[in-house]
Symmetry: C2
Subunit: 242 residues, 2 copies
Amino acid sequence: MAAMSGIRARARAQTTDEIKTIARRHLATDGANLSLRAVARDLGVVSSAIYRYFASRDDLLTALILDAYNSLGSSVEAADKGVVEAAERAAASGVFEWDALSARWMAMCHAVRDWALAAPHEYALIYGSPVPGYRAPQDTVPAATRAVRVLGGILQDAALRGRFEPDAGQPLPDPVGGNLAEITAALCPAAPPAAMSRAMGAWVQLFGTVSFELFGQLENAVGDKAAFFEHQMRAQADYIGL
Amino acid sequence: MAAMSGIRARARAQTTDEIKTIARRHLATDGANLSLRAVARDLGVVSSAIYRYFASRDDLLTALILDAYNSLGSSVEAADKGVVEAAERAAASGVFEWDALSARWMAMCHAVRDWALAAPHEYALIYGSPVPGYRAPQDTVPAATRAVRVLGGILQDAALRGRFEPDAGQPLPDPVGGNLAEITAALCPAAPPAAMSRAMGAWVQLFGTVSFELFGQLENAVGDKAAFFEHQMRAQADYIGL
DNA sequence: TGTACATCAGTGAACGCGCGTTCACTGATGTAC
DNA sequence: TGTACATCAGTGAACGCGCGTTCACTGATGTAC
């Protein structure tokens, strides 16, 4: 496999991608219990051929989950980067000084929601109910944390620019305080725990809102879901202090 | 069916309950694609016998969903009622005057989380990813809104006791404002829209936190999940103004 | 109180379909000499 | 440059299992006279 020819490797990678693309389509109809045989049928191949590419159905699922986390992660990273660069351009050209923190928060929120609306079944795969009988391997962790590390970057910059109130640095009661300090150390060491606590609440609310929208919990209640989302996330930016 | 004897009706109701109980157990292993044949096997009956009680697999699922909403709803209602009555007793005995609003909020939050932890697969059934190929009939709506109506009751009482700041009564920009006014009118007509907006954010965060905990999103991040939940929900009570 | 009858729960066989995975194989295609 | 060989993608049959739903039936049990 390591000594595989470049040409064969390319063909192999392409077929692997085709299988995953077809499998992603099947998520929409079958949810997480997608069928290898159905995927093979759509690929125009006998069912056992899939086993040249994935050792089992669970392996294919794992690949889809990894892809989903990475796809969401890179969308969120790109959205944040876009705002940061726009602010840098504005500053460099002397037009105006702008720390862009709340704009970065909003861009991040919209990136999450837009991605989820564009790929609702992949969102359900990673943020919905766990697949019965499937246990994700540990190597999804780096991909799974890409999005939240963007939040960490925003908070870190906010802290470095003195955006958080001084009394926000007071320690929180254990065991919440200790745990929060660990997370803060990993994601945004300059931020005070109180700000981190609010940010985690806002993070949960972000995904809670997207899940409620996608899973039908806002039906018969919220009319304009985009406006509702925008309004709620803006309120969170204020509350965090961005 | 309407003219069915009392004895037979009782037996029928009991078997119906047994089927649902067994089916609930199967939710844990099979998720939402539980198998009628497996349920029949566990009941010690031939698979076609189930059709005396449920017209189809979807009908059984609908019954489980309805039961789940009602079970959650009555837990939340009971928790709220418990705090209200405790406050009334305290007031009646002249011990102390206590509006109990934040205690009611916390009791409600804990009732949701405790119920979800006790019945994680039923929680996933109603708040997790939608079941592929299944569309819930409209008659689940009354059951599904029982829990949120408890929140409405708390907000209504808070408003009647003048708990919300006067400037909180300023209208929010359309289309969010109009929509929020509708929801407020239905759930807690005395509450100002701004308070309702915060309360909806908190409500989403409540379910977001429970989903994150149950669906594994807090793994490798939050150590003491009960303490985290308590802390976050208390912060929301403050933020709403309870 | 006794008996004939209607109701209804549960049976068992069948229909027609699905699935994941294994295995020995064929035959094309890249590669090493 | 040409050829023999090893690699590897894809085949086709099979194993052993699952499923939802229908249908004609049996036989117990409650009920109306």
